[in-house]
């Protein structure tokens, strides 16, 4: 199962740039870019910090792709 996210959409909806979100959760902008593009799976801690920074439930940011498991 692959981790999916709608981080970019939620980030833009709340008016954050990648740099601002990166600063808020104490990571690099490259990390935010990599997470948004699905090239890097954040740790649980980082995922929770991102959700907290965006004031969004974590389940609205990240989920597991069930379709891969069912196909």
């Amino acid at each position: 199962m692959k981790l999916q996210n709608r981080l970019k959409q939620q980030r833009q909806n709340r008016g954050f740039t990648q740099a601002e979100l990166a600063t808020a959760v104490h990571v690099t902008r490259q990390t935010i870019i990599a997470v948004e593009k699905g090239r890097f799976n954040p740790s649980v801690k980082l995922a929770l910090e991102i959700a907290q920074a965006l004031n969004t439930p974590i389940t609205e940011l990240f989920w597991l792709d069930q379709q891969e498991n069912q196909s």
Partner: protein, 132 residues
């Protein structure tokens, strides 16, 4: 960031002086210093590190993504160097005196593999994309 830049300039110059004192030509040492200073100036703007100016000389921090990339790049460099040494020993037919020139090129090769791996694993350009 003054403390960071000052410390890195001092380190770069000290390394260049060490190179010169151990036999490098003066312009080689100057070139090394210039390259090191340029790299240290680029690092805070590269998007690779979380920057904490309040931490002074240790203003740059790796996060989990950067650390994962560094770990993989270091493994790649180690394997490349191990293969190079093994190949060399096979070619010369056993453990003999290893010329210092080979060690120098081995180290340069390892550093090269490390940074090539680093850039490739990041999937980025040398200049960061504009912010979205």
């Amino acid at each position: 960031m003054k403390a960071y830049y000052t410390s890195r300039i001092i380190i770069s110059l000290a390394f260049a002086v060490l190179q010169w004192a151990t036999g490098a030509i003066w312009w080689e040492a100057a070139l090394i210093a210039a390259v090191l200073i340029a790299l240290f100036m680029w690092a805070p703007r590269s998007g690779r590190y979380a920057v904490y100016p309040e931490l002074g000389v240790s203003a740059l921090r790796r996060d989990e993504f950067t650390q994962a990339i560094n770990d993989k790049a270091a493994r790649n460099a180690f394997m490349a160097m191990a293969l190079a040494v093994s190949g060399y020993l096979i070619i010369v037919g056993g453990v003999t005196a290893v010329p210092i020139q080979f060690v120098k090129w081995l180290l340069f090769g390892g550093i090269g593999v490390y940074y090539l791996s680093d850039f490739w694993l990041r999937g980025q350009r040398l200049i960061a994309k504009p912010q979205e």
